[in-house]
Amino acid sequence: MAKKIIIYSTPTCVYCKMAKAFFQEKNVAYEEHDVAVNEVARKEMMDKSHQLGVPVIDIDGEIFVGFDRDALSKALNI
């Protein structure tokens, strides 16, 4: 079954764009929350990652801070 991916991002964040481009390139579906405007999602992101910085990527509960192509590939087996 496909893993559930959530990305917490801001509109001006380059590494968020790179992460999304990576998911699109790999044909992986993801859900996006813009934490610049969505305060509930911002709180959720801080609770999950214990930090303040984007992107935060949640893959079935596994939390990644920043864009690390190798780590994401591993987590998604791609």
Binding site: T12, C13, V14, L52, V54, D70
Partner: protein, 303 residues
């Protein structure tokens, strides 16, 4: 054996790769990312020929331009050079992923990375209020009080990025006067929420789970965010002392040719002791290096 191995994929590395391909040098480019440090810039307005471009688009353009030369340049773009050793008349390189290679020439375009304050709390609270990318993270500091450390252009631009979000911005600078462009200084001095603090010696970033304050000159600012913009450190560790560096850790080059102190190693861009760290200058210097490398290889009868 490669003729030329380019270490780094910023503007200097990309410029060098394109010229090397056109000279038909057997070239390898190793990088862990394209575009260099300005990739996070929201709007670059001084890239010659384009009035405005984002750092990310500039990075993509550079990559595409290099790739348009196809097999003339070999690209390892998810790797990093970690070691260079001198053999008799060539070099032996090792990468982070464990690959090795031999090359006649090394062109170092590995750029620089952010300088850290080196004070207590900085490492522990990294990402927990200590921030390095205002274009990325400014919105997360909505209605908070933040400190920006560094009065150069990067510091001033960070203040501009934070202005729509933060409640109060303290701009701390170590020297007696700000250093960034007067146009931006003027803009910032008119912002009510910005307080400029000069001759500030930062001492400690305070906080348990998240940043709760910044100690400087034995005073404490009640901030929840600290953006650090105090310049850069050249990426030269992988050279392990093969070439001479200046007191800032930059590779000393002959500015006519970009040659380092060791025959066979050239350097260009922010990793070199170039006086001005600029994308356009990095490209030009890297091209200068490749043209000089090309004539060196010919003269020495290597190609």
């Amino acid at each position: 054996m490669y003729d030329l191995t380019i270490v780094g994929g910023g503007p200097a590395g990309a410029g060098a790769a394109i010229y090397a391909a056109r000279k038909k040098l057997k070239t390898l480019l190793i990088t862990d990312g394209w575009g260099g440090q300005s990739i996070v810039s929201a709007d670059i307005q001084n890239w010659i020929g384009l009035g405005s471009i984002t750092g990310l688009d500039l990075a993509k353009n550079l990559e595409q331009h290099v790739r348009s030369y196809g097999s003339d340049v070999e690209i390892w773009d998810t790797d990093l050079a970690v070691k260079v050793e001198k053999k008799e008349d060539h070099f032996f390189l090792t990468t982070k992923s464990g690959k090795t290679l031999e090359t006649k020439i090394v062109l170092v375009t590995s750029g620089s990375r952010r300088r850290r304050l080196g004070i207590p709390g900085e490492d522990k609270l990294d990402g927990k209020g200590v921030a390095w990318c205002s274009t990325c993270d400014a919105p997360l500091f909505k209605d908070m009080e933040v400190a920006v450390i560094g009065g150069g252009n990067a510091g001033l631009e960070t203040v501009l990025d934070l202005n729509p979000y933060a409640k109060k911005i303290y701009l701390l600078h170590r020297g007696p006067a700000l250093k960034g462009d007067p146009v931006t200084q003027e803009k910032i001095s008119k912002m009510e929420k910005v307080q400029i603090i000069l001759s500030a010696q930062t001492q400690e970033i305070l906080g348990d789970k998240f940043v709760s304050g910044l100690k400087y000159n034995d005073k404490v600012l009640p901030v929840q965010g600290v953006f650090i913009e105090i310049g850069s450190v050249p990426n030269t560790e992988f050279l392990g002392g093969l070439v001479n560096l200046n007191e800032r850790g930059e590779i000393i080059v002959d500015h006519k040719t970009q040659q380092s102190s060791l025959g066979g190693i050239w350097a260009a861009g922010d990793v070199s002791d170039v006086l001005y760290k600029q994308n356009n200058i990095s490209v030009g210097d890297a091209i200068k290096a490749v043209l000089n490398i090309y004539s060196y290889l010919h003269k020495e009868g290597h190609i």
